[in-house]
Amino acid sequence: MSARENILARIRRQQGRSGPTTAEEMALVRANIREHGVGPKPLAAQAEDSLELFKRECQRLLTTFAEVDEATVPHEVARYCAEANIAKSLAGWREYSHLHWPAAGIDYAARAANKDDTVGFTGCFCAIAETGTLLLLSSPDQPKLNALLPETHICVVPKARIVPTMEDAFALVRTEVGEPPRSMFFVSGPSRTADIEQTIVIGAHGPYRVHVILI
C-alpha cells in the first residue's frame, strides 16, 4: 500500500471508521464547505466607517496614504518621490499606463519589476479596512513582484473597493473572479523583521515603504 493509503487508513481506523472514505462522508464535507460559515468578527471592524478604519489601520502599519482624483495620481506620485528623495521611474501595472505620467515628470514602464527597480506601482483587487490590508490577485498584467522587489511600493486603492473584513474580500473574489487565481497576496504595510533581538526593523526582504493613493 502507498503512503497515501496508509495515512488515510490509519486516520479512519483510529477514529473507529472502517473501509475507505465513503461518498456520503465526502458529500457531507463538501456541503459544509459550501456553507462558507463566517466566524465572529472583531466588533470594531463591524461598527466603523470602512474608509476611516482603513486609514487608521494603515497608520498603525506605517503605510502612508494620500487622497486624490484618478487624474492627479501621477502628480501625487511625483510629490511622494520628491519628498522621499527617490528616482521618478516606476515599474507599474499596465492598467495605469494610460495616466499622464510624462506630464508629471515620471518615467512609467508597464512591466514586471526586476531587481534594479526602485519603485513598484500597482493597483489592487480590493482593500480590507479591519487591518489596513491590500489584496493583490495575480494575472498576466498584474505581476506580484512590483509589490515585492522594489524598495518602494505605491498602490492605488479606489475608495469604493475598501471592504470591512477579509471575509468580505473573499466573497468579492468569488462573485467577481470565481475560482481563486494562482496567488492571492495580502499586503499589510512595509516588510519587517524582528529576528535580531526582537528589535523591529522596517524593510526586510520586501519594500521599505508602502504608499497608498486613495482615489
Binding site: S2, A3, I7, L8, R10, I11, R12, Q15, T21, L28, V29, R30, N32, I33, H36, G37, V38, G39, P40, P42, L43, A44, L61, A112, K115, T131, G132, S138, S139, P143, K144, L145, L148, L149, F170, V173, E179, P180, P181, R182, S183, M184, F185, F186, S188, G189, P190, S191, R192, T193, D195, I196, E197, Q198, V201, G203, A204, H205, G206, P207
Partner: protein, 469 residues
C-alpha cells in the same frame, strides 16, 4: 534535527548557567508577553473567536481523511501535484527526487518547522543541492549551524553581537552592530539567491480544502519570493494543517499574529493555488505539495487529538516560565515549550523524551493563552500517567510516589505521618522559618529554600476549631 530530548535535564542546567543566553532570553520575554496582551485586549470578543476557531479545527480533525481528499482533489485540479509521506525520510526522498529530476542546483527556503523536523537541509546538501534559508532568523542559524530555538523567532537566543560575528565570517564585510544595518546586509546577501534559485521550498501555515490552496504568513516578504520567483515551488507541511474554507482562514488569521507577536496582522499573507497561469509574468511552472505524517496521526482518534488543533503561534512557549529560563534548545528537538513537550514525546517516542512532560510548573498559563484552547497541562498530565504506567520514570521518583499513594489512601496513617512531618519540618525551619536543605532530596533545595510548616496540620486545626464551637 537529531533528537536530543533525552538530555533535557543536563541541557537545561547548562542553559541556566549560560550568562549570554540568560540575558538574551530576558530581553525577549517581555516583548512577546506584553505585545500579545495588548493586541488581545483590543478585541472585545476574543473569546468568541477562539471558541469558533477551536470548533472549526475540531470539525476538520473529526473528518481529517475526507478534508485531505477534498484538498488533494482541488489542488490537483489547479495543476499542483500532491505527494504523501508517512515518515521524515520519505518526505525528504520526495523533494530530493523532484529536485534531481529537474536539475535543481539551488533551493531558497522560507521558514518551515516541518523541514527542520525531517532534516531536509542535510538531505538536500547530501544530494548536491544548496539550500538557502531566507527568513532572517533561519538564515542566521544556517550560518551558525544551529537548530531553531523558537518556532516563530528561531534565533531568539542570539544577541546582535553573536549575529555580527556570523555576518563578518559569512559576508566578509566590516562588522556592523546596528540592527537595521545588519538587516540590510542580510537583505543584500540574499537578493541574488531569491532571483537565481531553481526551486522554492516553503512550509504552509494552513492548507485550504475548498480551493486546494496552501498559504504562508510572514513579515519579511521572503516566503512571497520563494513561492513566486523559482520555476518550481515545493510545499512541505503536516497532514493536520488542513482547514475547510477561506472564511476559516479569516478567523484563524485574527488569532495567529496577535498570539504570536502581538500584531493585528502579519505583513504578508500569500495564498497560492496551483501553478502559473497562461500569460502570467511570475509564478512557478510546477507546484508540489508534500503532506507529511511523521507521527501526527498517532494523535488522531486518541484522548490527545486536541493537540492537532495547534496553529504554531508560539504563545505557549512565550508564556512558559520553564521556556523563559532555559530557552528552546534545552528541549532537544524542533518544538520547544509546552507544545513541544507534547509533540516531541509523541512523534519521537516517549522513551526518548521522558523529561519533557515533566518540564512544567503546571501554572496553566499556556492553556490560558493558546488561541485554539488546547488543554496543554491536561495533555502533559496524560503523558506523565502514560510514562508511569510504562514504568519509564526512575525508581527515585516511583518509590516515593508509591509510598505517598499508600499513605494517602489510609486516613489514619496519613494523619499520623503528616502530623509528625509538620512538626519535624517546623523544627527544621529554625529561626528564619526556612528549610535550607532536605536530606535525600537535596536537589530540590539546591537553588531555593522551602518555607517551613507552622507545626500543625490543617486536619488538626480543623478538629480543634470544630470542638471549640
Amino acid at each position: 534535527m537529531q533528537v536530543q530530548s533525552m538530555h533535557f535535564k543536563r541541557n537545561a542546567s547548562a542553559k541556566l548557567n549560560d550568562a549570554v543566553l540568560q540575558r538574551n532570553m530576558q530581553k525577549a520575554k517581555g516583548k512577546f508577553v506584553d505585545g500579545r496582551a495588548k493586541a488581545v485586549s483590543e478585541v472585545e470578543n476574543w473569546e468568541a473567536i477562539r471558541t469558533h476557531a477551536a470548533a472549526l479545527r475540531d470539525q476538520c480533525l473529526a473528518n481529517l481523511d475526507a478534508y485531505l481528499l477534498e484538498f488533494e482533489a482541488n489542488a490537483t485540479r489547479h495543476g499542483a501535484v500532491v505527494h504523501w509521506a508517512e515518515t521524515a525520510a520519505e518526505a525528504c526522498d520526495i523533494i530530493v527526487k523532484i529536485a534531481k529530476e529537474n536539475g535543481v542546483a539551488k533551493a531558497t527556503k522560507s521558514k518551515s518547522m516541518v523541514s527542520e523536523e525531517v532534516n531536509l537541509n542535510e538531505r538536500l546538501e547530501a544530494a548536491g543541492i544548496q539550500p538557502i534559508e531566507t527568513d532572517l532568523g533561519e538564515y542566521i542559524l544556517q550560518l551558525a549551524g544551529e537548530p531553531p530555538s523558537h518556532i516563530v523567532a528561531p534565533a531568539v537566543h542570539k544577541s546582535k553581537e553573536q549575529v555580527a560575528d556570523l555576518f563578518v565570517a559569512a559576508h566578509g564585510k566590516p562588522r556592523l552592530t546596528d540592527i537595521p544595518a545588519m538587516t540590510r546586509e542580510a537583505r543584500d546577501a540574499l537578493r541574488d539567491h531569491f532571483l537565481t534559485a531553481d526551486m522554492g521550498i516553503s512550509g504552509a501555515n494552513f492548507i485550504i480544502a475548498e480551493t486546494g490552496t496552501t498559504l504562508t504568513v510572514t513579515n519579511e516578504g521572503n516566503a512571497d519570493m520563494v513561492t513566486t520567483v523559482p520555476r518550481i515551488h515545493c510545499v512541505i507541511t503536516g497532514v493536520e494543517k488542513v482547514i475547510p474554507t477561506l472564511e476559516d482562514f479569516a478567523t484563524l488569521i485574527r488569532l495567529l499574529p496577535r498570539s504570536a507577536v502581538g500584531q493585528t496582522i502579519a505583513n504578508y499573507l500569500t495564498l497560492t493555488t496551483g501553478t502559473k497561469m497562461p500569460g502570467d509574468q511570475d509564478g512557478p511552472e510546477q507546484m508540489h505539495i508534500v503532506l507529511v505524517d511523521a507521527g501526527r496521526t498517532k494523535f488522531v482518534g486518541t484522548d490527545m487529538q486536541d493537540m492537532l488543533r495547534c496553529i504554531r503561534c508560539g504563545a505557549c512557549m512565550n508564556h512558559c516560565p520553564v521556556y523563559q529560563n532555559v530557552g528552546g534548545h534545552a528541549y532537544g528537538w524542533v518544538y520547544p515549550g509546552p507544545m513541544g513537550s507534547i509533540l516531541t514525546p509523541t512523534y519521537v517516542g516517549i522513551e526518548n523524551a521522558g523529561d519533557l512532560p515533566n518540564a512544567a510548573t503546571f501554572c496553566g498559563e499556556c492553556q490560558v493563552v493558546c488561541p485554539v484552547k488546547i488543554p496543554l497541562p491536561d495533555l502533559m498530565r496524560k503523558l506523565r500517567e502514560r510514562q508511569h504506567d510504562m514504568r519509564l520514570r526512575p525508581w527515585s521518583e516511583r518509590i516515593p510516589m508509591a509510598m505517598w499513594a499508600f499513605a494517602a489512601k489510609r486516613a489514619g496513617l496519613y494523619a499520623f505521618l503528616s502530623k509528625w512531618g509538620a512538626r519535624v519540618g517546623s523544627w527544621l525551619g529554625g529561626r528564619d522559618r526556612l528549610i535550607h536543605s532536605l536530606p535525600g532530596i537535596d536537589g530540590w533545595t539546591q537553588g531555593r529554600d522551602m518555607p517551613a510548616p507552622e507545626g500543625r496540620t490543617f486536619r488538626e486545626l480543623y478538629v480543634q476549631r470544630r470542638d471549640k464551637q
